[in-house]
């Protein structure tokens, strides 16, 4: 890969640049994760894991500690393949005030992620090889693998196809105009036909521009009472329905980004039953929060697609349990405080997700291991995160949605030539995370690794936390703290 300017290394001073040249694995030749329960696609088992020079060299119960190994305590913890986020806004280039590749990767690592897919709505957008190479270059020294999605159309303007072949040659496997949907059905059809020949997937941000125009929250009882222009569920569902028809017409693969309504999931379930090549992701906040959060006009809860109703939340959880949903993806969307400080209708949409995703998702899908009784009255659990219907999901089911299934959609799985998604076995890449499913912690925006503070969980207590993350054999997070 050609050298690329790493402007934030210069901005951060020579020390940061030096780290880039230091081979990470050399400093952590052997790492042992001891005492945990390994959970991967093959199941759950008590096992220690030894990683040497970035590769798993031993898995099994009661292993001897190798000489000189760095030992990570995993007692009472889950040891899973590193998580893979299909939907991260890295904000670089152009939005460095909100986030950089470096800070996003640190947030990702603290969230248990060993790979993220950066969205192309940067400035300039990732609609050509030059920008893609810049971001990929910035990702080389990062704390997790940084892949990118390319734009479907030039400038994400929805008119002319972006050079998908050129980008695919760089390894880009997912294309999307995320931030907006491709409005023109003819353009989307051509894009799907072209993508089919490249073997890549088109991700759609489903939002009919005319129906959604001017909306700032879910259109329904709350928006009507609050006097806030709304975005109806139909704005999303219309485009989901259209793209299912286009998938049928073209044979192209469609990945639906951040689905938020019960109607969308019903459409996807039908399409899957028909055997169409569609996949779907949901965001943790849509599994946990409703539009009632907007009652106080707090802009941190403004997000696109908007927080929906309890019915939608229940349908999304059920969709995760039923297999309609293929991945939980964060839609991590950092914004500087001034972008959130205005009135609701001028505030930027989006919320942080990487550092809270595991806890929120485990709780929402009923798989957190809370040692305390239900409704213990300490107010630890936000009211809308108590699941019910989806309580049958196991930890393995939930981690599938956050690791090995998204790894395949991103084209990053081992069988696709990548290094993500496990399983945790001898000879596999040393990417894993250690999750304490019972830890209670209060979210403090000032202590997040992200450059921004716009977390909807500020001041709330979550259950479940990433204790350690190992990326390419390097313990990048130890004891919840990033190591660099």
């Amino acid at each position: 890969m050609p050298p690329v300017p790493w402007i934030w290394a210069r901005a951060s001073g020579p020390a940061m640049a030096d780290r880039r040249r230091t081979p990470a694995v050399a400093r952590h030749a052997t790492v042992m994760v001891r005492g945990g329960t390994v959970v991967d696609e093959t199941g759950e088992r008590r096992a220690d894991v030894v990683i040497t020079d970035g590769v798993v060299t031993a898995v099994g119960p009661g292993l001897e500690v190798p000489t000189g190994a760095t030992v990570l305590d995993a007692v009472d913890c889950l040891v899973a393949p590193g998580l893979v986020d299909l939907h991260t806004h890295l904000r670089q280039p152009g939005g460095e005030e909100a986030e950089t590749v470096e800070t996003a990767s640190r947030a990702a690592a603290r969230g248990g992620y060993t790979a993220v897919v950066g969205m192309p709505n940067t400035n300039p957008p990732i609609d050509n090889a030059a920008v893609a190479l810049e971001v990929l270059g910035l990702g080389e020294p990062a704390l997790c693998r940084v892949a990118v999605a390319g734009a479907i159309t030039v400038g994400r303007a929805g008119e002319c196809l972006a050079p998908m072949g050129e980008l695919a040659a760089l390894g880009v496997r997912l294309f999307t105009d995320d931030g907006t949907g491709v409005q023109d059905s003819g353009v989307m059809r051509r894009a799907l036909e072209y993508a089919r020949g490249l073997g890549v997937t088109l991700g759609q941000h489903c939002e009919d521009g005319d129906l959604a125009a001017g909306g700032h929250m879910h259109e329904g009882a709350w928006s009507s009472r609050l006097g806030v222009p709304g975005v109806p569920a139909a704005a999303e569902e219309l485009m989901v329905a259209r793209d299912i028809m286009l998938a049928r017409l073209t044979g192209g693969r469609v990945h639906f980004l951040h689905l938020s309504t019960a109607g969308s999931l019903a459409l996807v379930a039908t399409a899957k039953a028909e055997g169409l090549p569609v996949t779907a992701e949901v965001a943790p906040h849509h599994l946990a929060l409703t539009d009632a959060e907007l009652a106080g006009y707090d802009t941190v809860f403004k997000v696109n697609p908007p927080l929906r109703t309890e019915t939608d939340v229940a349908a999304l959880r059920a969709g995760c349990a039923a297999g309609t949903v293929d991945a939980v993806a964060t839609d991590h969307a950092p914004h500087p405080s001034q972008a959130k400080d205005g009135p609701l209708d001028t505030a930027a949409p989006g919320m942080l997700g990487l550092e809270t995703a595991v806890a929120v998702t485990l709780q929402a899908l009923g798989a957190e291991r809370d040692g305390m009784a239900e409704g213990d009255g300490n107010g630890a659990v936000p009211p809308t995160t108590r699941p019910g219907a989806a309580a049958s999901m196991t930890v393995g089911d939930v981690l599938a949605l956050m690791s090995w299934r998204p790894a395949r959609i991103a084209g990053l799985s081992v069988e696709q030539g990548g290094d993500q998604g496990g399983p945790i076995a001898v000879g596999m890449p040393g990417n894993l995370c250690v999750i304490d499913p019972a830890e209670r912690w209060e979210v403090d925006p000032d202590r997040l690794a992200s450059r921004s503070r716009n977390t909807p969980w500020a001041g709330r207590t979550l259950i479940g936390r990433v204790r350690h993350t190992v990326y390419r054999g390097e313990p990048v997070v130890v004891g919840t703290e990033a190591q660099r």
Partner: protein, 357 residues
């Protein structure tokens, strides 16, 4: 950086007693029926003040009220400023046209800067729903919502309720205080027009329903909110002719043409044909039914010129009562209620007492 206004210590003085609210009036929902009744009772006292040769009391002497209007409004701003001045408060007027908001300063910076100068209350008008609620989170001063987007306009609803109560009391020939709130029980009110984009409608529905009125919304489908779930209304109609003979109050909403609502109906002509209070339709009203409008009126659109000037139209009385109601709200939020005093017995400052002047 965050400036906070120091509040004077008030020994022996309990917090002003607007029920259900701390020190803000952001929504009618903050007040509830008790709070609304309290405001209306206190308004009686200020209506009396208005009749004096010098209609001014020292109740808020030394207090500073800022009117922060990020949206053009002459009548509401004048009404609040007059109210504050008649309470002897110092008034700072912050109009967006000449302000730093136009120069790109954020609302938060603007508000915190003004608050740092030492302000007791912000009266906020803003085109965005929720802006007053946000201001209330940023400053320690009291915040009064003077209209926010499509959300609420609580003092308009209060003055509308006061006007209805006043007119019905006069008709019964008894003092307002004796009649109390019982005229609202079962009072039939039609709210007609652009409910979807109307903050007046949202506050009005909450206030009238809290006092016991039965509300019918009359509007074309495109001017109704997407959902009426949780709205305390008895009925929704698309047929004004059939509703008019059944109501005690016909409340017309302004067609919000300046917010692009014009495109929600095919034409003003068609709107008037279906939902305007024309001379013919005014003839369908029961004897004694009131016609109300928050102003400014689009004469010839939602209300015919002749109807606006009928005796049953109480539009100017609404405006006149606006000052007294806003005096009551400012007084209840900022004034001093003597410790242990029963509700309603208010100390309006030296030299003030019932029958005085």
């Amino acid at each position: 950086m965050s400036f906070r206004t120091p509040r004077p210590e008030t020994h022996g003085i309990k917090a002003p007693a607007v029920a259900g609210s701390g020190r803000n009036l952001l929504s009618i929902a903050d007040l509830g029926a008790e709070g609304i009744e309290e405001v209306l009772r206190v308004t009686d006292a200020f209506v009396e003040v208005a009749r004096r040769p010098i209609p001014k009391v020292p109740a808020l002497r030394g207090r500073t009220v800022v009117t922060l209007f990020a949206e053009e409004s002459t009548r509401t701003r004048f009404s609040f400023e007059t109210a504050a001045k008649r309470l002897s408060a110092d008034v700072l007027s912050f109009a967006v046209a000449s302000s730093s908001l136009k120069k790109g300063e954020s609302l938060r910076d603007t508000v915190e800067t003004v608050a740092a100068m030492g302000v007791d209350a912000f009266v906020v008008r803003h085109p965005s729903a929720g802006a007053p609620a946000q201001v209330a989170r940023w400053v320690d001063a009291s915040v009064i919502n003077a209209g926010d987007g499509w959300h609420e306009h609580p003092t308009q609803a209060l003055l509308d309720c006061y006007t209805i109560r006043q007119v019905l009391a006069e008709r019964s020939g008894r003092p307002v205080a004796d009649v109390g709130m019982k005229n609202f029980g079962g009072l039939r009110v039609a709210i007609v027009g652009d409910v979807a984009h109307s903050r007046v409608a949202r506050s009005g529905v909450l206030a009238l329903a809290a006092l016991g009125a039965e509300i019918t919304l009359v509007a074309p489908g495109s001017l109704l909110p997407p959902s009426l779930e949780g709205w305390p209304v008895s009925a929704v109609s698309h047929d004004l002719d059939s509703v008019l003979p059944t109501v005690d109050v016909c409340y017309l909403l302004r067609l919000q043409t300046e917010r692009g609502a014009g495109s929600f109906v095919p034409s003003l002509r068609e709107y008037t044909a279906g939902y305007g209070l024309t001379v013919r339709r005014a003839g369908l009203l029961a004897e004694g039914a009131l016609v109300m409008h928050p102003g400014p009126m689009n004469r010839g659109v939602e209300i015919a010129d002749e109807v606006a000037d009928l005796p049953r139209s109480v539009v100017l009385r609404q405006v006149a009562n606006g000052v007294a109601v806003r005096m009551a709200v400012l007084f209840l939020l900022l004034g001093q209620v003597v410790d242990g005093d029963a509700a309603g017995a208010v100390d309006l400052g030296p030299g003030f007492g019932a029958g005085d002047g």
